[in-house]
């Protein structure tokens, strides 16, 4: 029998809908691959074959009855562990959430089910999505399928590694400061951070509420567009959800960038960018130019202020969002304590990992009396200026082309020792979250060690279709950049 994990998700669904294979076979193929590879990769933190097969049977019935006809009907999917899945553990890779089983479904997971997809498990991540390596997980690190000595990136490292390793064709991640785009780049997969408000945040366990977005991770642009199409929705349960005129993202999959204006920010190509990343990005720009795009260099501005503003805002929101983890209603409670406040302190101190505590402390400080104006409001003002810089850029360009990260995936254990250095790795991604704009990360080459390089394309708000079209065109012409498969 053919290797189902070599198909694209859309092809797999077509075969299922055509009756060539069953949903159950697709689920088994994914879980068999997972069992074979995940011992080394450790992309998953939870799977349940029995549950998945039960769902597969339900979906098969609906497909047979012609009730499910969507582009991804019947396809197995993995979900990042900060997205609530009803009846399935959801822990944010944190001890403080141990044994938490939501009795409610996130809107994104509900949309997967509506689309006839089977959630086969939950993927590893940096604890509460705070990190860029998937090493801060309470379950231990995920490994990069291209080289298990290296990190997969983060915080959606589990989702990206699972797709890269061929354990699953599709996964959901979340992106607060680059958490989909950066690991997609490190793992050689395609991932999208949608415009803020496109995918409901209901049931996404908040890190930085004004920045968080759920998005798709897949092996190619078509699958990514299809998955985005299925999870995007207007949700009345999320006040920041936006109703779009058009959810047909797949209609943007056209091989055509003629006349498209692409701007490359000079400020992104200075010090700190690894030449091994620069090369493939330049080549990619040349490919797009060859296809008829107008490619120009320009000064975006504000680049060096994005990270400080981001860490103030994200940490401040996180310090408040994570107050609910207190040992009262769910999750971990310390075994011994004297009185209420001691219970709070011990449960939180034992339940949260170091990076999370670091950000809670910083966030509490910048909001505290006497510092709110100097730090928090200053960061919100900076955010307004960053937004303005992007508005100016998108007045001239359809797309901003940039690296997704300054380097390829670092070795395990290299990043955490110097948090500030790790934070600086987010330089190309955080601005999109501050400005609310969409971005895609798509593989564009390998470095000399054979690790993938990702290119990022940013669009103006709600211009997902523009970046999908450019990414699809690039994918069609980029040729065989890998020459081999991950792992």
């Amino acid at each position: 029998m053919m290797d189902l994990m070599k198909l694209t998700a859309v092809q797999l669904s077509d075969k299922i809908k055509a009756g060539e294979i069953t949903v159950s076979q697709a689920v088994d193929a994914a879980l068999d691959a997972m069992e074979k590879k995940d011992g080394t990769i450790h992309a998953f933190v939870y799977t349940n074959r029995e549950h998945a097969q039960k769902k597969a049977a339900e979906i098969q019935e609906k497909i047979d009855a012609g009730q499910l006809t969507g582009p991804l009907a019947g396809v197995p999917v993995a979900v990042k562990d900060n997205i609530c899945t009803k009846g399935m553990p959801t822990t944010c890779a944190s001890r403080i959430m141990e044994n938490f089983v939501p009795m409610y479904q996130s809107e994104a997971a509900a949309n997967l089910e509506k689309a006839g997809m089977v959630i086969i498990g939950k993927t590893n991540m940096d604890e509460f999505a705070m990190g860029s390596t998937t090493e801060t997980s309470c379950y231990g690190a995920t490994k990069n399928p291209w080289n298990v000595e290296h990190v997969p990136g983060g915080s959606s490292g589990g989702s990206c590694a699972a797709v890269a390793a061929g354990e699953v064709l599709l996964a959901l991640g979340s992106d607060t400061g680059g958490s989909i785009r950066q690991p997609s780049s490190y793992c050689g997969v395609t991932g999208i951070k949608p415009t803020y408000g496109t995918v409901s945040r209901y049931g996404l366990i908040a890190y930085g509420s004004s920045l968080d977005q759920i998005g798709p991770v897949a092996g190619n642009v078509t699958d990514c567009a299809a998955l985005l199409q299925e999870i995007a929705s207007y949700d009345k349960k999320d006040s920041t959800s936006v109703k779009l005129d058009d959810y047909d993202f797949m209609s943007a999959l056209k091989h055509d960038v003629k006349g498209m204006k692409i701007g490359i920010p000079r400020d992104y190509f200075g010090e700190g960018l690894d030449p091994e990343v620069l090369g493939p990005i330049q080549k990619a720009a040349a490919v797009l130019k060859e296809q008829g795009a107008i490619v120009e260099h320009f000064d975006l501005g504000m680049v060096e202020y994005a990270i400080p503003a981001y860490y103030v805002i994200a940490s401040a929101e996180a310090s408040s969002n994570l107050e609910r983890f207190d040992g009262v209603k769910y999750g971990y409670r310390a075994a011994d304590y004297e009185g209420l406040h001691d219970m709070y302190k011990k449960s939180r101190t034992e339940g949260f990992g170091r990076e999370v505590k670091r950000r809670i402390m910083l966030g509490s400080f910048v909001l505290s009396s006497g510092y709110y104006d100097a730090y928090y409001l200053k960061a919100l003002r900076t955010k307004a200026l960053i937004k303005k810089a992007f508005d100016a850029a998108f007045a001239k360009y359809d797309i901003i082309l940039a690296p997704a990260a300054p380097t390829t995936a670092p070795r395990l254990g290299e990043s955490l020792s110097d948090p500030l250095k790790m934070y600086l790795g987010d330089i190309y991604t955080v601005s999109a979250n501050l400005a609310g704009i969409p971005g895609i990360s798509i593989p564009c080459g390998l470095d000399s060690k054979g690790m993938p390089v990702g290119m990022q394309m940013l669009g103006d708000c709600f211009k997902e279709k523009t970046i999908l079209q450019a990414a699809y065109t690039f994918e069609c012409c980029r040729g065989d950049i890998f020459g081999k498969e991950a792992h």
Binding site: N99, F100, V101, M103, Y196, G197, S210, T240, V242, E304, Y305, I307, P308, A309, Y311, V312, D326, G327, V328, K329, Y330, G331, Y332, R333, Y337, G339, L340, H341, D342, M343, Y344, K345, K346, R348, T349, F352, K357, R358, I360, M361, S364, F365, S368, Y371, L377, K378, A379, L380, R381, T382, K383, A384, L385, K387, P419, L420, L434, A435, G436, C461
Partner: protein, 97 residues
Amino acid sequence: MAEIITDETIDYVSILAKLKLTEAEKEDAKADMQKMLNYIDKLDELDTSGVEPMSHVFSFDNVFREDVVTNQDDRDAMLANAPLAKDGQYKVPKTVE
């Protein structure tokens, strides 16, 4: 000018954050926070006078629900997640003196 992070600052912030740090962790936290704040001070270079703080990226407003009851009773399912519960309630150390 960088804010100087003292032991008192760390103690004060741990009260706010409900975290209990060991002496060694306090020293780490002090250094971490100092480093981050020095870096964040880069924002001082920017002239932001007259710029409105932007808490939401879009200028949407007025998202409401109508005043209609939509929820049913899910108490037992919710309480199943509680570390300690009694008589349909969450159990906590006593709050009154």
